[in-house]
């Protein structure tokens, strides 16, 4: 099949392993495209895409915008700051107004979990979730899986540890769904206060000591401490977090095997990762960013093509 099972990409939970593999295979071709002298194909030239960001973003918004432009789509950008949202317009009204300008696809980031799911019940355009609260961030999980597949040959059977603030992380949840669907073993590791209570019901192992997690895994996906989402104190101080959960280059070099180090960005250097670890040969952080464009091109192409 060369068609996704869904009209929208709302979360990894809703798509199948076949969908993920189709996205990866298509992204292989787009990765080739973005390394050509002319990095652009005309596929989406009659498609208009609105990037609707109700929450701050650098990487994801740039990556989507670049992916859209590489596919020759027309792009409009919307960010909540400086818009009529401040004047009290509802989400549905805002989006319907944008769609009235003949927009075919909406890429949306929102601080509330489920916002894109709500929209998908009310509008016709294809929706791509670019992060909804602490719920899902499907394209990040896809590019993480794609990067692991590229680096290690496949995801099946690999051991992947997700380390850090699991509780507030949409990247963690989407990654767990994606990696489990692709047949990987997944472990989460972090301070007990930052691990959701029922996380093991998703079929992941739980580890409290970062050293043990590193010993176990083939890939360490390190997450940022999301201070902006933490209204409570989950640990005494950042220094203490770094002391117990920070990863430095020596820890990686001392391991018996070579592991792959990933981070979805933005990195808090000196907190979850030291600079020497983030810039070491273990790290594929910048490959993840490059792959992000190819994977998002694949998602947009497959969704637009089945319209």
């Amino acid at each position: 099949m060369s068609k996704l099972s869904q009209r929208h990409l709302l979360g990894i939970k809703d798509i199948t392993r076949g969908d993920i593999e189709l996205i990866f295979e298509t992204a292989d071709n787009f990765k080739d495209v973005i390394n050509r002298p002319i990095k652009k194909v005309p596929s989406l030239r009659d498609v208009t895409i609105a990037n609707v960001f109700f929450e701050n973003s650098t990487r994801t918004r740039l990556s989507f915008e670049l992916a859209e432009k590489r596919l020759s789509a027309d792009v409009i950008n919307f960010s909540a700051s400086g818009s009529s949202v401040k004047k009290g317009e509802t989400l549905l009204d805002t989006v319907n107004n944008i769609l009235a300008m003949k927009v075919d696809m909406v890429v949306m980031r929102h601080a509330s979990a489920g916002a894109p799911h709500f929209l998908s019940k009310h509008i016709k355009a294809n929706i791509v979730n670019a992060g909804d609260g602490t719920h899902e961030h499907p394209t990040q999980a896809l590019l993480d899986g794609f990067s692991i597949r590229e680096k290690l040959g496949s995801v099946e059977g690999k051991k992947i540890a997700i380390i850090g603030d699991i509780l507030h992380s949409r990247v963690a949840l989407s990654n767990i769904f994606a990696l489990k669907k692709l047949g990987a073993e997944v472990m989460v590791c972090g301070p007990p206060t930052l691990l959701p209570k029922f996380i093991s019901t998703l079929g992941v192992q739980v580890e409290l000591e970062v050293k043990k997690a590193l010993d176990w895994c083939d890939v360490a996906n390190v997450l940022r401490i999301q201070l902006e989402r933490q209204q409570l104190k989950y640990f005494p101080s950042l220094r203490e977090y770094t002391l117990y959960y920070g990863i430095n280059k020596k820890m990686l070099d001392d391991l018996k095997k070579k592991i792959v180090l990933m981070h979805p960005g933005p990195i808090n250097r000196g907190v979850e990762l030291t600079s020497d670890a983030a810039d070491s040969h273990h790290s594929i952080i910048l490959d993840q960013v490059e792959n992000g464009v190819a994977v998002r091109m694949a998602v947009l192409y497959l969704l637009a093509g089945a319209a």
């Binding site: 068609k3 071709n29 495209v33 596919l71």
Partner: protein
Amino acid sequence: MQKKLILDSKQLHITLSRLCQQLIENHTNFSNCVLLGLQPRGIFLAELIHERLKSLKVNVPLGYLDATFHRDDFRRRDTPAKASETRVPFAIEGKNVVLIDDVLFTGRTVRAALDAMISFGRPAKVELLVLVDRKATRDLPIAADYVGKYVDTHDTQRVLVELQASGSKQNKVWLISKE
């Protein structure tokens, strides 16, 4: 469904030899020439031509070109066409390119391929080699420079090229009619 044999294994062998001889006749010097097989089915023919030329002491670089993302029927069909690998291990800029495909039908694939090829640079000259040219079915003003066989067909018919290189038992070319 009716199946009519257009070329059998022996005829195909002769046709390929002729196509190679014509290429040699028209290119006094292959130093600036490259072969580009069109995905997905043109690449097997391109490989055969490449090997045959090699046995005639002519070494020409071979690449694969996928034109899926340049097709003009995107969003006009139910499912997006599946892309294949593009492998162009040489510069296109300033080269004499021979595009190779198995069947020339509407000409739309070739148009897309011309577009896709230009993403890699500006070739000096482009030629088109096809095994089967379906006459009078063109949607676009595109013609082949080297043709294995001309065939009169209707829109509803289909030309099937079976090559051992692509996993078929024998090298054969068929014309398939629905009724």
